[in-house]
């Protein structure tokens, strides 16, 4: 009564019944979409198998192996459809990474399970390639276990931190914008230059005074620097035009840089090479004003980036 043929028929009926039910009652469900996609992808091959099956059924009436051939094509069709449902699963969900949403990429390993099942099912009936199918199926199985475990774990996707603040190209800035940027670097915020104790990334006010008459013991008060810079250039100790005569630990900002010719150049040089010229009385103790206590502004610990320094050109 319960022969293999009957049971096979019952199983087939259940499967087709289930598929039919899904299509009839839930035509827009994920499962129905999946099957439609699979059909869309794999129908030509399926058609070939169906034609073969029909040919075996009706074209080979006298072949003793007819029943076996028909059966094999049915199994082939089954494996083929599983294969394409699995592929459709990949095609639909591969790029979607929404953790916690069921039925989404975390179910991709299900495809691997389907490959496994398809391989083993076909291995049962296709003796010629049995071992290959079994080995393949086993590998799919191992991969399915591992990938399944990976997907079963809670998912975290990590975004990179926001990119560092972009400094616009100083050369494109208006004078006002440049001044604002400078104020921000020195005092921390635009308009903070009047506030007592305001300090920015450049940390200049730690040592330098910026207001007229402010106490400035560690470093020269910078109030009125544009005019005073020109006086400094004339100082014999500055030794304009011939840096080699300077009596300092570093004679030039960079090899071949030469000396400043304008006030702006002088200020720029002082930022990059505080040792090139030390205002009398402000050198490192005991160095006889040959060495400056100020760090070069483009090196640690201040390490202003290139665009934040004043430019020579």
């Amino acid at each position: 009564m319960f022969t293999g043929k009957v049971l096979g028929g019952v199983t087939a009926a259940i499967i087709f019944g289930a598929i039919g039910t899904i299509f009839y009652f839930l035509p827009e469900s994920g499962a129905a979409q999946l099957m439609r996609k699979a059909f869309h992808l794999g129908w030509p091959g399926g058609l070939v198998i169906v034609i073969l099956m029909l040919y075996f059924q009706f074209g080979r009436k006298n072949d003793p192996r007819q029943g076996e051939l028909v059966f094999k094509s049915v199994i082939g069709l089954l494996g083929y459809s599983m294969l394409f449902i699995a592929i459709a699963n990949y095609a639909m969900n591969f790029n979607d990474e929404s953790p916690g949403v069921p039925g989404e990429p975390r179910f991709l390993p299900v495809s691997l399970v389907m490959f496994t099942v398809a391989c083993f099912t076909m291995a049962m009936y296709f003796k010629g390639v049995r071992v290959l199918l079994q080995i393949g199926g086993f590998m799919f199985f191992v991969a399915a276990c591992l990938a399944g475990f990976g997907n079963w774990l809670p998912q975290v996707k990590a975004d990179p931190p926001p990119a560092e603040e972009k400094t616009a190209d100083v050369r494109q800035m208006s004078v006002q914008e440049r001044a604002d940027l400078g104020e921000k670097i020195i005092f921390g915020a635009v308009g903070a230059s009047g506030t007592q104790g305001a300090i920015g990334k450049g940390q200049c006010p730690l040592c330098h005074g910026f207001q007229k008459g402010f106490l400035s013991e560690r470093a020269p008060n910078l109030f009125g620097i544009p005019t005073r810079a020109l006086e400094r250039l004339k100082d014999p100790r500055y030794s304009q035009a011939d840096p080699s005569k300077r009596d300092t630990v570093q004679k030039e900002a960079c090899p071949g840089c030469g000396t400043a010719q304008t006030a702006a150049e002088y200020i720029a040089e002082s930022h990059a090479c505080p040792n090139c010229y030390v205002v009398a009385g402000f050198g490192v103790k005991g160095s006889n004003d040959r060495e400056s206590p100020m760090p070069a502004s483009h090196k640690p610990p201040i390490a202003l980036t290139e665009l934040r320094r004043t430019h020579r050109r």
């Binding site: 591969f94 790029n95 990474e97 953790p99 990429p105 975390r106 991709l108 390993p109 691997l112 071992v131 290959l132 079994q134 080995i135 393949g136 086993f138 590998m139 799919f140 191992v142 991969a143 399915a144 591992l146 990938a147 475990f149 990976g150 997907n151 774990l153 809670p154 998912q155 975290v156 996707k157 990590a158 975004d159 990179p160 931190p161 990119a163 560092e164 050369r171 960079c254 090899p255 071949g256 840089c257 483009h298 290139e306 665009l307 320094r309 430019h311 020579r312 050109r313």
Partner: protein, 644 residues
């Protein structure tokens, strides 16, 4: 007379060939010297580009190395600051990173395989030369030969994939590739030359096999395999320097400007740990692939002869693979330590942070590998009469392994719903929480390894009865050794809970030392005891269950998966940097994928690799000569089992 001249001629040819290889080996060095000197115009070029940049106008600027802290002349341009645009990151309607991932991973798999197989051949060929047993010696030789043959096909695929990688890289990440190649120009040139040298050596090695079969010539042939492997290893190390640079840059200043010292760029802090780790990993992987090949041939075999040959081959391959697997965790430990020493947050991201769950998967796989190895050995006992005496102990070993595995896999951070959290009363479980810490894990994994050693010792003596006079004492000592090793390992694991962390971290060393004691003392003592032992029954190669062969396939697949996983971990720990802290990844794909996505990709890569390698096997099997008809039935256990 004629024969003598022929021999002499052969000898001359052999010396000539050897000379050529040495020459080929040295050639890249000579060529890289002018390449190094050829860098002198480079500063001029870079000054030209620097002149365009705002600040650095003067030619010889000095700057400080980010890692070595040495001063050096600025030679290269700073690392480009990329923007999220099609110029820096061209779009091809798919995640560029994933495409590159697949290309690189496939190249890596094949690369590992073609690097591992020659090492494998070298060992097997050498075994063949030193084995006194003529038939066995021929078998080894044939085995080695078969593998070079397979690696030839794989070699061309590797080269092809390498080309694909460069093409993909250049197309998808042009700016980044430009930067890397500007720094590594001399290294890349050397690499290309070495690659040619490697190809030449490999082909000559293969085609000279028959010609150099006997006597002195054979030794030269073996020497050739050494040279082949030296070239291969240097190749790998050069390639490693690129990834090591990306992870822990050196030889450049904080802006990414090259400072003219190639050695600093190559020899970054993580370079050597990665080299060692990769070399061992490649070998284990090679053993796995070869074992899988043997299993495939075993399962498709038509005759008992074939079955016995491939059973034996699988055993040898598995054995060599496992030999390299055992030191692998220590190499990994070293690498991890160096990563921690380099950047603490990188270490924590790996072990306790974002990527920690990937290590859980790794833990699963390590456990699975050891379980499978044990299982294979137990299945292998079916080959021998007399093994029944030991088979009743298997269940206890299974039990110990599974208990340790349970401890090994208990996660430190448990996944649970909020309801479960409340029921438990906190993130930490009062019982299982204790299994989640390092102390317990060390105990568990060392017990697992010790049990594997025990399995192997039992396997070794399965069909033998020791006859030496001191056998009772030897057995008693083995018993004492293993019992106390287990006790010691577990005691140290428990002891770890009672002492402060700074002392506790030291406990892993005695634990490992205990395991290694068992491995070396136990196996050596056992081998000595079995000298001249009475055979209960022969080893009948081929008489192993199909499950045993699937265990080999499982090993191979897991190796492959694990390589993919660890590579992914190593690579993604840079997070959003192309070159750590030097060049930021500003592409839309700078985020770190979910674990699941990673697992899916790794699975894809693994399966793709196996599909193609099956094709390679098939190609290799097309012209395979019939397996020599020496029936290995009744043969002694081959050298690896007895001599190690």
């Amino acid at each position: 007379m004629a024969t003598i001249t022929k021999q002499a001629r052969n000898k001359i040819w052999a010396f000539l060939a050897l000379g050529t290889f040495v020459g080929l080996l040295l050639l890249p060095l000579f060529l890289s010297l002018p390449a190094g000197a050829g860098d002198t115009p480079a500063p001029a070029a870079s000054t030209a580009s620097a002149a365009a940049a705002p600040a650095d106008a003067k030619p010889v600027e000095k700057s400080r190395d980010v890692w070595y802290k040495t001063e050096g002349p600025v030679v290269g341009a700073p690392a480009p600051k990329t923007t999220d645009s099609a110029k820096d990151y061209p779009r091809y309607n798919f995640e560029s990173r994933v495409i590159l991932w697949v290309a690189l991973q496939q190249h890596l798999y094949y690369g590992s395989f073609v690097l591992a197989v020659p090492i494998f051949c070298m060992i097997v060929e050498y075994l063949g030369v030193i084995t006194k047993d003529k038939a066995l010696s021929r078998k080894y030789d044939q085995l080695a030969y078969d593998f070079v043959k397979i690696s030839l096909t794989a070699y061309s695929i590797t080269a092809l994939l390498g080309g694909i990688v460069i093409f993909t890289f250049l197309t998808l990440y042009p700016t980044f590739f430009g930067y890397l190649s500007s720094i590594f120009r001399p290294v890349m040139a050397t690499y290309a030359l070495l690659f040619i040298a490697e190809s030449g050596t490999l082909y000559i090695y293969y085609y000279a096999w028959d010609k150099m079969r006997e006597g002195f010539l054979k030794w030269i042939h073996v020497a050739m395999s050494v040279i082949l492997n030296v070239i291969g290893t240097v190749l790998m190390m050069l390639a490693n320097s690129w990834i090591a640079f990306m992870q822990s840059p050196a030889g450049v200043d904080a802006d990414g400007r090259y400072l003219g010292n190639v050695w600093h760029v190559i020899h970054t802090t993580l370079w050597n740990p990665i080299n060692v780790h990769r070399l061992l990993g490649n070998m284990a992987f090679g053993g796995g692939v070869v074992a899988a090949y043997a299993a495939y041939r075993f399962l498709t075999a038509k005759s008992d002869e074939e079955r016995s040959h491939y059973d034996w081959m699988g055993y040898v391959a598995m054995f060599i693979g496992i030999c390299f697997l055992i030191p692998l965790p220590f190499a990994g430990y070293w690498l991890m330590r160096e990563v921690y020493a380099y950047r603490q947050q990188m270490g924590i991201t790996l072990m306790g942070g974002l990527l920690a769950w990937l290590f859980i998967i790794q833990a699963v796989m390590i456990g699975a590998l050891f379980l499978t190895a044990n299982y294979y050995l137990w299945q292998g006992m079916d080959r021998m009469r007399g093994a029944e005496r030991y088979q009743k102990y298997i269940k206890y070993m299974v039990f110990v392994l599974i208990m340790c595995f349970i401890v090994w896999l208990t996660p430190h951070t448990m996944v649970m719903t909020p309801a479960e959290l409340k029921a438990m009363g906190g993130q930490q479980h009062p019982v299982l929480g204790n299994y989640g810490v390092m102390s317990a894990k060390n105990g568990a994994i060392n017990t697992i390894i010790t049990t594997t050693v025990l399995s192997f010792i039992i396997y070794q003596r399965a069909n033998k009865i020791p006859t030496v006079k001191w056998a009772p004492y030897g057995n008693a000592f083995l018993f004492g050794l293993f019992t106390m090793a287990y006790v010691n390992i577990i005691w140290l694991a428990i002891y770890g809970y009672y002492i402060p962390a700074n002392v506790r971290v030291g406990l892993s060393v005695p634990q490992v030392a205990s395991t290694l004691s068992c491995l070396f003392i136990g196996v050596i003592l056992n081998s000595i005891m079995l000298k001249g032992a009475k055979d209960v029954g022969p080893i009948v190669w081929g008489q192993i269950s199909v499950r045993g062969q699937y265990a080999l396939i499982m090993l191979a697949t897991s190796f492959t998966w694990m390589m993919g996983l660890m590579g992914y971990i190593r690579s993604s720990v840079r997070l959003f940097w192309h070159v750590n802290e030097i060049m930021r990844d500003n592409s839309p794909w700078a985020f770190t994928h979910t674990i699941g996505f990673g697992a899916n990709m790794i699975s894809f890569n693994v399966l793709f690799f196996w599909l193609t390698i099956l094709f390679v096997f098939w190609l290799g099997s097309l012209g395979v000569k019939k397996v020599p008809a020496t029936a290995p039935v009744g043969q002694k256990v081959p050298a690896p089992a007895g001599s190690h």
